[in-house]
Amino acid sequence: MKTSSKIVLVGLCTALLTGPLAASDEGLSRQIHNLKQNVLDLNRDLSLLERELLYPSSESAIFVSVDVGTPIRLVDVNLTLNGKHVGYHFYSEQEFTALTNGGIHRIFHGNLPSGRHTLEATVTGYDPQGKDYQKTTSHTFIKQAGRKMLELRVVDDLSTMQHRFEFREWNE
């Protein structure tokens, strides 16, 4: 029995204190490497071709951003442009983290007719106490001949512990 229990013990120790060996194939790795590089090139070129096809040089985009490290949780944003619904996004936990790390989210991308437009954004969020609330804001802007970029910044209003909005516009 002494031998048997020793074998069991050695088995347990071996299982805990050693790891399996790696199976590797250098040729396969090189082929995968080449494929990945080709796919990246293809994806880049097709994205640019798609953009060239769909968006003339006067494209428009609306971005959403938040304060870096905000304690107020953004849940979703609903966008209407001249009374018509143009975008909605629900922000997952991971996406909200991405926003608080300085990321900005393109919520709308398209071709807008030139002239005056009214954007309305309805934002749902949770304050630091977990209480939900909804706020709506509107912004009027003029689309000119070139590209138009608009950033909706959802910033902390620490006095009310809720969000407030700021708009930033770029014209080409």
Partner: protein, 653 residues
């Protein structure tokens, strides 16, 4: 179980985020300065007027969009965006923040050569000290991943990586500690471990790895001390507690091996009864009692174990050990029944392993593993985190959990999933490109038909707008500054003007009548009242006229903008017609077909490697089960022989 526990997948704060913050501030100020010199952008004071979309603004938007994709577990999207913007000329060798992010993404996508090229380029430049240190850290991490441990250690131990922010410095020392542990240079490893903040998960994993490595290198007491450090950490989440269990088990087994039974028991009873290492702990605890010939204390532990899932190796061992304890206690009928139960259970298990081998050998085994990933996440980004494939309920899973937990299998499966998602991406493009070609063809037909007419109409509309503008400007210029009642119609509002015209007409018609006629008198009185009203409202009406002219001029300006926008669209359309977009789409379509075929071949090869690994593990299990079954049969024969001999002896007496 692996001796070296891989540090959990952690998202390190990428260094380019730090690079971004000053960039954002610089951008904000430069944008504000160029947009409106009087406006200062500090914090929330945003400029009211639109800013020009210059290259820095475009970089700000493009880079932060890539940052959003990066942190949203869409790294392939992030890398694609960076590369597309690089080709558009937005990012280049001088945009270091984008270079560093691209380098990190290349590392994560397994394109080490491209990453190294970027890091080398960055290190040759005159960049900020912290950015330089972070680039060196990335380069060392790249060497570490490639197995060039000496090169990595040289960088990590040098001053080149000094001055990193706290989190990255911890990463530096963790990596260095792991290398030193592998090289059995425990003194230096310990120095690096001290630099990792206490109480972090990374620190706990590194300490565990070091403890195990020291035990393996015969520094047993020091190793046990390191493991005790992990064991005595305060309770945390499931992952932390599992690591504590693992440390307790390793300490217990080490003491058991050295015949230090009491210390072994003291460590083993700290493994949680419902934790992932409870089977091993029960088996080892039983062994510690058995070694001291305390069979009665060993028995309940092993009897508890035999009630658990028999696919676990510890349970299989207990199936043989429990009847062995009965034997030692002289309870031969119970021992015989125990061995019989063991043979039946082990035979069932052998059948299960055969079934598992057949399952793994089937072509759709990897598809079943993949299905968990697909069900678990909607994220189809090729670089997204792989789902939990070990949750499948197939008969092979209990035998393969150790293989699935191994770093090498996980890495190969991750690559397989990457290829699978690349395959889906290529399939999507394969369907999209013909649609894009069709859209291009439709656009071409429509534009060729409509453009001449649109150009002509645009010229006419532009002329109309210019005339309206000139006319409105003329009215504005010629509007009298003083309220002049010699032309009351110029001061009347619309209603008054209509009445004025009616009365003027009456006046004209009654002009031939005698001055004393009642009709002329009436017209004269009404006209007087109307003149009084016009004069009374004249200031407000003039103000309204000014406002109307201003609005009209604004509207004419907006029409001018719209005409300019339409002209821009016409220019775009003209270029569009002349472009070779159709040819470029067509050539890419052929590339897609070729790449799909390449991906399928690589998936087949990699899939076979994964299948072979699984089959090897199952084959080893089959051998082990066969040996245990034989041992159970031999034990049964031994017990039966012993009982028979005893009965003969009893009869003889």
């Amino acid at each position: 179980m692996n001796a070296r526990v891989e540090t959990p997948m952690r998202r390190w704060q990428p260094s380019w985020t730090r690079a971004l913050k000053p960039l954002a501030i610089t951008l904000a100020s430069s944008i504000s300065l160029s947009a409106a010199a009087s406006l200062l952008v500090i914090g929330d004071d945003l400029p009211v007027e639109p800013m020009p979309l210059d290259i820095e603004s475009q970089r700000y938007l493009a880079f932060n969009e890539a940052t959003f994709a990066f942190y949203s577990d869409k790294q392939f999207e992030a890398i694609s965006q960076l590369l597309a913007n690089q080709k558009r000329g937005l990012f280049n060798n001088d945009t270091e923040y984008a270079e560093l992010m691209l380098g990190e993404l290349y590392v994560n996508f397994g394109l080490a050569e491209q990453a190294e090229e970027i890091f080398n380029r960055l290190l040759k430049k005159d960049i900020l000290a912290q950015l330089r240190a972070e680039t060196w850290l990335h380069k060392a991490a790249l060497n570490y991943r490639r197995g060039q441990l000496n090169e990595a250690a040289e960088v990590l131990a040098s001053k080149r990586t000094d001055g990193l922010p706290a989190e990255k410095n911890a990463r530096r020392h963790l990596m260095l500690a792991n290398i030193r542990i592998g090289q059995e240079e425990f003194g230096e490893a310990l120095a690096s471990l001290h630099a990792i903040p206490a109480g972090t998960r990374e620190g706990a994993y590194a300490t565990y790895n070091m403890g195990v490595a020291m035990i393996r290198a015969d520094h047993i007491d020091d190793g046990v001390r390191m493991l005790s450090g992990v064991l005595n950490l305060p309770p945390g989440d499931e992952e932390n507690n599992a690591l504590k269990d693992r440390a307790a088990l390793a300490i217990g087994l080490t003491h058991l091996k050295r015949e230090q039974i009491e210390q072994a028991r003291a460590a083993l009873i700290r493994v949680r009864a419902d934790g992932p290492f409870s089977n091993e702990a029960l088996l080892a605890l039983g062994l510690s009692n058995f070694k001291r010939k305390e069979y009665r204390r060993a028995l309940p532990l092993w009897l508890e174990l035999v009630r658990r899932n028999p696919s676990h190796q510890s349970v299989q061992e207990a199936l043989l050990l429990a009847p062995r304890a009965y034997e030692e206690l002289g309870a031969m009928p119970q021992a015989l029944a125990g061995y019989r139960f063991a043979t039946e259970t082990l035979r069932d298990e052998l059948r299960q392993v055969e079934l598992a081998i057949r399952n793994v050998d089937e072509m759709n085994w990897l598809d079943r593993l993949k299905s968990h990933d697909k069900a678990g996440s909607m994220n189809r980004d090729p670089m997204a985190t792989t789902g939990n494939y070990s949750a499948d309920a197939g008969p092979e899973m209990p035998y393969l959990y150790r293989l699935f937990a191994s770093h090498d299998f996980a890495e190969q499966f991750r690559q397989y999933m990457e290829l699978d998602r690349i395959h889906s991406l290529l399939r999507d493009w394969q369907q999209s490109v013909p649609a894009m070609e069709q859209a291009w063809s439709n656009q071409l037909t429509k534009l060729q038909a409509n453009l001449p007419n649109v150009r002509a109409r645009l010229v006419a509309v532009k002329k109309q707008q210019q005339e309206a503008g000139a006319e409105t400007a003329d009215i504005q210029v010629n509007m009298p500054r003083k309220l002049d009642m010699t032309r009351p119609q110029d001061l009347a509002d619309f209603e008054q003007l209509v009445r004025w015209e009616i009365i003027s007409e009456f006046d004209r018609q009654t002009r031939n009548q005698p001055a004393s006629s009642s009709q002329r008198e009436r017209v004269r009185r009404v006209k007087g009242v109307l003149l009084y009203n016009i004069a009374s409202n004249a200031p407000q009406n003039r103000q309204q006229q000014h406002n109307d002219i201003t609005t009209a001029l604004e509207d004419i300006d907006i029409v001018g903008l719209r005409i300019a926008a339409a002209e821009q669209l016409v220019r775009d359309a003209s270029l569009h017609i002349r472009s070779d977009l159709g040819n470029r789409l067509n050539s890419r379509r052929q590339d897609i077909d070729r790449m799909i075929s390449d991906t399928e071949k690589l998936m087949a090869q990699l899939g076979q490697l994964l299948r072979n690994d699984a089959l090897q593990v199952l084959a080893e299990n089959r051998i082990q089960l066969g040996e245990q079954l034989a041992e159970a049969h031999l034990a049964m024969a031994r017990v039966q022989d012993a009982s028979f001999s005893e009965r003969l002896q009893e009869k003889g007496q």
